[in-house]
Structure formats: C-alpha cells, structure tokens
Symmetry: C2
Subunit: 367 residues, 2 copies
C-alpha cells in the first residue's frame, strides 16, 4: 500500500478511539490521544481503573460483554487494546465491523507462548530451547530437549513471573508440573544472558516500521525495575534485534506499537539475540520515550491506530526509567526534588506490594 | 518560611485539585496533575469544554455559583484557576475555607490594567506611559501624558486585542472613546519595541522562584503566533526581565506559575524592558516547555499548587512554538509528518476563526 493511500484513511481530529483495557497503559494512551485532539472511550469493568479517569468516557463492563462491544463499535471510529489478554473472540467480533488496530492475529500469537516462540523461529530468529508440556511425561521429554536448569511456564495468561516454576534438578519436576495446575505449559531452557534488552517499535498502516533505540532492562522479582537507554549493547547486536522486531511486525501485519524482549548472550566479541517474548501493545520498557523523545510510544501508537504518519523516534536525551512499585509511590516528594526526574503516576488508589504505581525517568544530555 | 515547613504541606498522590475554568489551560493542567497522581475537578459552565474531557470530573456551573463553590470546597484539597477573569469574590469565598493558589491578590492586580501597571512601577519596573480614562475629557488629558500614537484599552476583561482602540491622530479620539462602551479605560503610549518577550516563572510555597528561559513572541492580529526559545535578547536584558518577574511574584505572595510580558526597546547597545502585562496563570508563551523541558509549565504549576518542590526549568532543546488558530487544526496530518514537531490539540469541536485550537512545538538540538 502506498503512503498516500494509507494516509487517505487518517482520522480527523475529534474522532473517537476505543481502548479495551483500563490500566496505566490505557491511561497513557488516552492522554496521548487527547493531545492529538482525539476522544477516547475505555472498555473496562473496574470503575476506578487508571484509564477511565483521564478518558472522555468509560464503558463499565467485561471485555467480552456483547452489549458493551456493540456500544464501543457504534461510538468509536477505531478500536485498540492495551493488554494482551483481551479475549480474541471479542476482538474478532469487532474486527468484522470496524478497524481494530492491532488486530486479532497479533493477539493470538502473543497469548500463546508456544505459538510465539514458534513464530519467532519460523522468521529465523533464535529463542531458548523449548518444548510443549501437556502431561507429566511430556515434562520429562521436554527436559531431555532443554536440559537443566529450565523454566516451566503456562502457555497462556502469565505475566510478571506469574505461572512460572524453575526446574534446577530433576527432582524439582513434580512440584513444577503441579504448579501449572493442569494448564498447557512450555519448558524453556534457562538462558545465561549477559543482558536483557527490548525493542519498542511501531508499524504504520502504510507498512512503515519505526523503532526506538534498544533499551536495556533489569528485572527484580520478575518485574521490570529499570530501563536504560542507550543500552550497553554493540551496534551489530542492536541492528539484529531491530531487524527481528521489524520482521515480526511485518509477519503479523501489525498496526501500532509493539515490543520484543530479547536475551543478549555473549558470543565471542558479539552477542546472540534470543527472542524471549513479544507484547502486542505499548510496553513498560518504552515508558522512557515520554521523557526522552519528542514523540512517546503512546503517541506513536495512537498515530498508527489513527492512520497518521509515524513520528520520529529519535531521542533528545539519555535516560534511565525506574518503575515505582507498591510503596515507592510515597517517594513522590523526594523524587520531585531531583533535577531531571520526570515522574509519572497512574492514579491507583491502593499501593499493594508488587503493584506498578508509576515510574520515574531520569534524563541527562546525550553522551 | 523554610523549605522544610513548606514541604510538610505537600499533597500526597491521590489528593484532589480543583481547577476553576475549563479551557485548554485547564486541560493541560489536569493532564499534568494526573501524571503526578492527583485527581482533578473542573468548575466550568460549558459541558463540552476542553478540560472536562480529561479531568476526573466536572462541576457544570457558573464560576461564581455558590453551591458549585461549596461543592468544590468539599471535594478538593486545594483550588487553583486557569484564567484571570474568574470573579474575585468567588476566589475570596473559597480562600476563607481552604488553600487557593494563587490567591485573590494576584487576580485583583491582573484584572485591572491600571493597578497592574501601577504595581509594576511601584516595584521599580518601567512600563509604557499611561493615564486613566473615565471620561472623554480624561482622554484628552491622557493624550497629553502619553503622546500619540497611543492605545486605549478597557482596564478590565480585555484579551487577544479585544477592548482596544488605537489612536494615531487626535481626531481618532472620539471613536476610540466610544469603542470603550463607557467602561473604565487606560491610555498607553505606543511602544516602538524591538521585540516582545515573556518570562514564565513559578513561585513555590517556600518562596523559591524558578523561571524558564526568556521567550520571544510574535503576535498576529493581536493573537500569539509564535514563541521562540532562546530569544534574540542579550543576557543582561534577560536578567533584567527575570528579576522584574521574580519581584512581582514576591510582591504578590504568589504561589504557582505566572507570566510577565515585556516590550524590549533598543537603548544603545542594550535594551530597556517595559512591563506590558502579567498573567496569574500558565501562559500561551510557555506552551513550548512541554516539548523542550523535562518539567512543563503545567506540571510546574501543579507542583507549586500541591506544595511539592519546584522542578528544574532547564531546556533540553531549542524550540519554536506555533499556535494553531481556527482552520490550522486541519493541518494535523501534515504536521504529524514533520520530524521534531510536537503537536498538542485542545479537543475543541468547532474551529471558529481566531479560536486557539492547539499548538505545535518544533524542537531541535540546543545550539
């Protein structure tokens, strides 16, 4: 499709974008949409969710409520989603009536760790060794494929370390299998990575892909702790990661922002880049773009969804983003006193342990 | 007051800030408040106003509606306003019950051009020559003070060139006087300025003042067209402007962001800096701060109002802000294609001629 054809479909200012999901990602998307003059409607069952507070309105209903989906279709010009566990059937029902960006294809792949890894492999990317595990016998066969240590993960609905069990010795297998609660799982070889990095990229309706600089991520208790840009990774490894991400975007006929997480494994003077997972949405490891780029990942996603030209993903600053988890949010006043610290809180009333309450991005002139 | 005492009063995240006025300034304040985890309630009679769309809620009532003010006082922890024509009596009524930042003193001065100029003079700042005009005879006396050409302005409720009449020759006096419609007016000598500049500064509850870089402004049809940073003004003239602004802030016991507009008049190798007017609020000539600084004027105002430490006003980029007036908003798609262009639209449904619909800030690396 030519750029001219694609742009013919750009939403005029004042149009309405529906967002399925009302968390902090939806909140930041709604604010980015507002800055471009778009109205937003959130579909979210929690009446106190972060996104509803800043959107034009909220439909308070389950993500797959047929009446709510009908309402969304009637009121919106285009629909997007802010998390990958939206029921595929709901998105397919909407897709039959109106543009949904990104569509159900990316959702199906991202919801299934096996399909996700197989897709990455099919596109020529490396991943950890893996094997499917439906039964206890499968697990023994899988260990023979991956070796130990390995990590057993449910194929669906896991995030931030939930639904995972590590197997270090063969005798850990029973309890790990039990922890899956009968759900379909995948065993993945434990990767001795030097660093974890991610690519946050956008694909426009014209097929153009624009990626932000590769981000280096540190996790604590399976939750993202910091994202640092520039990463410590060499130019060749970064190029490899960007290339894999672009290929995935094309393969999925993706429209919007997505993230691909990688393990960077030392290999001589360079690195092997193993795809860990992909997220069909704006991503925590891209929050720094709001502070260090003219166009944030949130605006970039809205631009793609609205059929506008993608923005320039260039950075004006170096930065480190730190997640504010649970009681970290009480540090507001101290953080506000730090020069160069850009604070972003999500409007969540209860600071439960492990809950993402906000983030702070510390910017500094580019080196 | 010491910083420690001041900071003891900082609002915790989750507190509620009331904003009187629902225009684009209120909209951008509400979004900045949300990013700091604060809730916002807008008091605004227009149900479709820009701010209500992104705030937690809106009280749809006149700015001086006693019941609405009572509701605002009960629901909010602190109240601010987004435009200078809020009835002073309404702010005084709230002040008796709760913190209102900035308070009624700044409002009274800013609402009266005569008092505004007299205040600037009292603080040792220069202004244009001026004289009060209540009667037709006053106007002749005033012309003797200011000389011609001069500009006759109502003392109250004028903005964007409304309520103004230029007097070039004595025979223009009758029609200019008639144009005031019997309202109290002030005659100001016409200033042959080299440039118009403004200072956007914040004063915190500890008394600390932090100013953004001096901005050079170009008006078209009495409406701000562009703001450019850095300005073309020398360091000495900039320092003088910043000093006058800080003095005004202190004199008014101001808390929040305010703007002072100056005429820079060539004087040998340097400039005389004449105070034109002050605005007790975030200001159009500070919109660039959102694109070129870590902490925007909107967040800076919210920080001051919430009793948080003020943010660093340093710029990471050079920039030019351009207002999008009326049908300019239809340029959305072309603007989105420009690298480095940060677009901000206000969610106004009708693009009337002369109406501020949004702005675009073009950023570039600092020279």
């Amino acid at each position: 499709m030519s750029g001219a054809e694609a742009n013919a479909g750009a939403l005029p200012s004042g149009s309405t974008i529906g967002i399925i999901g009302g968390g902090q990602l939806g909140r930041m998307l709604a604010m980015a949409a507002a800055r471009l003059g778009y109205r937003t409607i959130i579909l979210e069952p929690d009446v106190n969710a972060p996104a509803g507070q800043v959107a034009n309105s909220q439909i308070v209903a389950a993500y797959d409520d047929p009446e709510a989906l009908d309402q969304l279709a009637m009121l919106c010009d285009v629909v997007t989603y802010e998390f990958e566990n939206v029921p595929v059937a709901a998105v397919k029902a909407l897709e039959a009536r109106m543009p949904v960006r990104p569509g159900s294809k990316a959702l199906e792949v991202a919801q299934d760790r096996l399909l996700e890894k197989a897709t990455a492999r099919d596109l020529g990317a490396e991943t950890a060794l893996f094997a499917p595990v439906a039964t206890r016998a499968d697990l023994d066969a899988a260990i023979a494929v991956t070796g130990l240590p390995a990590v057993l993960k449910t194929t669906r609905l896991g995030y931030d370390g939930k639904g995972q069990a590590k197997i270090v010795r063969p005798e850990d297998a029973d309890s790990a299998f039990a922890a899956m609660n009968g759900q379909m799982a995948v065993l993945e070889s434990f990767v001795h990575f030097e660093s974890e990095v991610s690519v946050v990229a956008a694909r426009g309706i014209s097929g153009e892909v624009r990626a932000y600089d590769v981000t280096e991520n540190i996790h604590r208790n399976h939750i993202l702790h910091t994202s640092t840009v520039p990463s410590g990774l060499g130019a060749e490894a970064c190029a490899k990661a960007l290339d894999i991400a672009a290929g995935l975007g094309r393969h999925l006929d993706y429209v919007g922002v997505f993230a691909v997480e990688f393990f960077a494994v030392r290999d001589g003077a360079g690195h092997r880049m193993l795809v860990n997972e992909m997220a069909p949405r704006v991503h925590n490891s891209g929050h720094w773009t709001e502070a260090a780029c003219a166009i944030s990942q949130f605006e970039q996603h809205i631009r793609a969804v609205a059929g506008l030209p993608l923005g320039d993903p260039a950075r004006h600053s170096d930065c480190v983003m730190e997640n504010l988890i649970g009681e970290d949010v009480a540090r507001l006043e101290a953080l506000a006193a730090e020069p160069g610290a850009v604070i972003h809180l999500y409007g969540k009333s209860e600071a439960r342990p492990g809950r993402k309450m906000g983030h702070v991005t510390r910017i500094a002139p580019k080196k």
